[in-house]
């Protein structure tokens, strides 16, 4: 097998950062906030690199859509072992209006153009939490899909993927080409080591726009407002067990 894998990496607010809602409720504050690669996409890159190490894959192309800083995200993926990057340039101001629908069309186009055998994306991004992009990519391409993958193995001419589902684990066989979305237990991503970070600086990153691919980014949805979750009401502190029982009795619960 010498698969060509297209991996999606989204640049999102780092999960250790405290997210703040903008005063005008139009979204969250992203200016000056630390961003990093969506953890599920990191898992995707790691899996692709492992497949290359096992000689299942021969080339890994990483794609990221967004402003100029996405190139940092792509460089991280290149430092982890991807071969080349494609940056779909979307200015920060327009990014909030881009939906999984549009991203899926972009990826579908790139997959066809680059003759990808497998498209791997994270099951969801930790900012949107949509869990739609992978599925829509498969629909656009009319390819089979394996979502929430926790294990990917070679199986004859195709792949055998174990999926995490509510009832437990489901194993399916997939013919190529195919779309896979990653779940947490698929692997633990490596850190990019310094020598690889140096090497990655020399790997190519191609820059395109959605228009170049013939994809229209007109939004299909409108975000009406973004709000903080309701503030938890202060509880009542009790000094000891007898006071607790008193209060419970008072509330008619005991």
């Amino acid at each position: 097998m010498a698969l060509r894998i297209l991996v999606g990496c989204k640049r999102v607010i780092d999960y250790a950062v405290k997210v703040r809602v903008k005063p005008d409720k139009s979204g969250v504050v992203t200016e000056g906030v630390k961003h990093s690669m969506n953890p599920f996409d990191e898992i995707g890159i790691e899996e692709a690199v492992r497949m290359k190490e096992k000689k299942l894959a021969s080339e890994i192309i990483v794609v990221s859509c967004g402003p100029q800083q996405c190139q940092e995200t792509i460089r991280t993926a290149l430092a982890m072992g991807a071969d080349k990057g494609i940056h779909i340039d979307i200015p920060a101001a327009d990014l909030s209006k881009v939906e999984p629908y549009h991203i899926s069309k972009i990826f579908a186009k790139l997959a066809t153009e680059n003759k990808a055998d497998v498209v791997i994306v994270g099951k969801q991004a930790i900012d949107g939490d949509n869990n739609q992009t992978g599925q829509m990519i498969a629909a656009n391409l009319d390819w089979p899909q394996a979502t929430f993958a926790s294990k990917i193995e070679k199986d004859g001419d195709g792949l055998k993927v174990t999926r995490e589902i509510d009832g437990g684990l489901e194993t399916i066989n997939l013919k190529l080409p195919t779309v896979i979305t990653t779940d947490l237990r698929l692997n633990e991503p490596r850190y990019a080591t310094l020598p690889n970070i140096m090497k990655a600086k020399k790997k190519p990153i191609e820059k395109k726009t959605a228009a170049d691919l013939g994809v229209d980014l007109t939004p299909k949805q409108q975000v009406i407002s973004v709000e903080d979750p309701p503030v938890r009401e202060a509880g009542q502190k009790v000094e000891d067990v007898s006071q607790l029982i008193e209060k419970l009795k008072g509330a008619g619960v005991v």
Partner: protein
């Protein structure tokens, strides 16, 4: 997906064996009483608690839950230290809510000559935070109010029972950070940190508590409340009394309020973990780091492969690098990300090209920065390990760190499971952890003490860089302080606490 859920997911993956339980690895009942273990220790001629004493305390501490008696409650958590090496026999825990309550309690105890053991988060590592005999435990855990924060000057005023991590979270809301940080941050209280002059991971950058504490309020043994709670950066009016309480381990007074100068939260924090082929390279890396990173360097820690193996074994934490004899964890903090990155890249190129670092990883995002820090911060965390551990903390010339570790390994041989060397290389402070079976504790301690203290003293180091003396090292104080100095300390103690009721048996010999 919010940050909380992500943490749960990641923790489930990484921490199949992490259990922060302190009791499963050794049952508290099995820990010998300190007084049994060291029969040469004699109880001072302090009063024995009577019922009328408890009645008197009840009149002072009127809210329920402020007095815990061994007749109704299990006090073993209060009586035992985090390392499970010392255990007292206190029958009473008092939990005052204010300096006024402490003042009345101590006034009474002083009258009656009742010995008191002051306790904060009980995370101390030298047996100084729990009673030796039946001293009454005076806990500050209920005094956890933040009094004031001046967002312009960065001065935070709070009660001494505030937990460090909570204070840091609070300060970050205002874009500030507490200027010190330690692995015990989730449990330790600022009063205890001040009383032990805690050093921590960022001393290199922000200095010691003697500098960042601007003022404090303390209660003396006779109940007198000493108010030195200033919020001024500079105040040369009379003797700087607060310095007496910082680092004197609760011997001279109970710290009740603190005002501390916080630092602005850095805009850009980066952490590099480097693998070094030998100890000489570690020293060269330190040298290059000081030169090339200069003012943005905020931490320089080192650990040997044994220490890295311990966190892997006990906590399941994976090191992102291959196995190297030594690792350096270097943190930079600055106000400009691109400026810091440029400096870092120059430094890293130098280190790799010069061969001091064989490999390394760089983290620029908060989530990854935290992950890398875990590898160093949690070395002392036993996790689910059933073994015992002994911790040492010395100030020494950095050239001698590895030599000391090797000497210990040779001396202890097969009697112990492992000896790890790690610590604040940038401050000249080495930590050593010895992992062993519980039954060998006495023999190992006899082999190590006073040998290791005498070795350090001979090399002109300090037998305790930041952990303090407590009951573990007080008898060796002469190895690090001159006789005249110790004499003056004793005279001061006599003057400030003539009946010796505050934390007896500790700090001074």
């Amino acid at each position: 997906m919010n940050r909380y859920l992500m943490k749960i997911y990641k923790n489930r993956l990484l921490s199949l064996t992490i259990t922060r339980s302190l009791t499963t690895s050794r049952r508290l009942e099995n820990i010998p009483y300190t007084s049994d273990r060291y029969p040469h220790l004699k109880r001072g001629d302090f009063a024995i608690l009577q019922d009328y004493d408890i009645e008197a305390f009840k009149k002072i501490l009127t809210n329920s839950g402020q007095i815990l008696s061994s007749k109704d409650e299990d006090l073993s958590g209060y009586n035992t230290d985090w390392l499970k090496t010392v255990r007292g026999k206190s029958d009473l825990v008092l939990r005052p809510k204010s300096a006024e309550e402490i003042s009345k309690i101590l006034g009474y105890c002083n009258e009656r000559k009742i010995a008191v053991s002051v306790q904060g988060g009980n995370t101390g590592l030298v047996g100084g935070s729990v009673p030796v005999f039946d001293e009454v435990i005076l806990s500050t855990e209920r005094m956890n109010r933040i009094i004031n924060f001046d967002a312009f000057s960065g001065v935070l005023t709070c009660e001494s029972g505030c937990i460090l991590e909570k204070l840091d979270e609070y300060a970050r809301e205002f874009d500030y950070i507490i200027p010190y940080d330690l692995g015990a941050k989730g449990s330790c209280q600022i009063g205890g940190n001040v009383s032990t002059n805690a050093g921590g991971l960022r001393l290199l950058r922000y200095g010691s508590l003697h500098g960042s504490i601007l003022g404090l309020e303390a209660v003396l043994a006779n109940g007198e409340i000493i108010d030195c709670l200033s919020t001024l950066r500079k105040d040369n009016t009379g003797y700087d009394l607060k310095q007496l309480f910082i680092g004197s381990e609760g011997n001279l007074g109970v710290v009740t309020k603190v005002s501390i100068l916080c630092a602005k939260q850095p805009k850009s924090v980066n952490v590099a973990l480097l693998g070094c082929p030998d100890y000489k390279s570690v020293l060269e890396t330190l040298d290059v780091a000081k030169g090339k990173l200069g003012e943005i360097l905020s931490a320089f820690e080192y650990m040997d492969s044994t220490a890295m193996e311990m966190v892997r074994q006990n906590l399941g934490l994976q090191c992102p690098l291959d196995k190297y004899p030594f690792y350096c964890l270097i943190e930079t903090s600055g106000s400009n990300a691109s400026h810091d990155e440029e400096k870092l890249n120059t430094f890293l190129n130098n280190a790799l090209d010069g061969g001091f670092a064989a490999d390394g990883v760089l983290a620029t995002e908060p989530s990854k920065v935290n992950s890398l820090w875990q590898l160093r911060e949690r070395i002392a965390d036993r996790g689910s390990s059933p073994k015992a551990s002994m911790a040492y903390d010395f100030s020494l010339s950095v050239r001698l760190f590895d030599e000391l570790t090797q000497i210990l390994r040779r001396r202890l041989g097969n009697l112990v499971s492992s000896v790890s060397g790690f610590g604040h290389l940038g401050d000249g402070n080495i930590h050593l952890t010895v992992e062993l079976e519980w039954e060998n504790s006495k023999e190992v301690q006899e082999l190590l003490e006073p040998f290791i203290f005498e070795w350090v003293a001979e090399k002109k180091g300090s037998i305790s860089a930041e952990h303090g003396l407590g009951t573990q090292k007080n008898k060796h104080i002469n190895l690090s302080k001159s006789k005249t100095a110790v004499d003056l300390m004793e005279r001061l103690k006599d003057h400030m606490d003539p009946k010796g009721i505050l934390n007896p048996y500790k700090t001074l010999p």
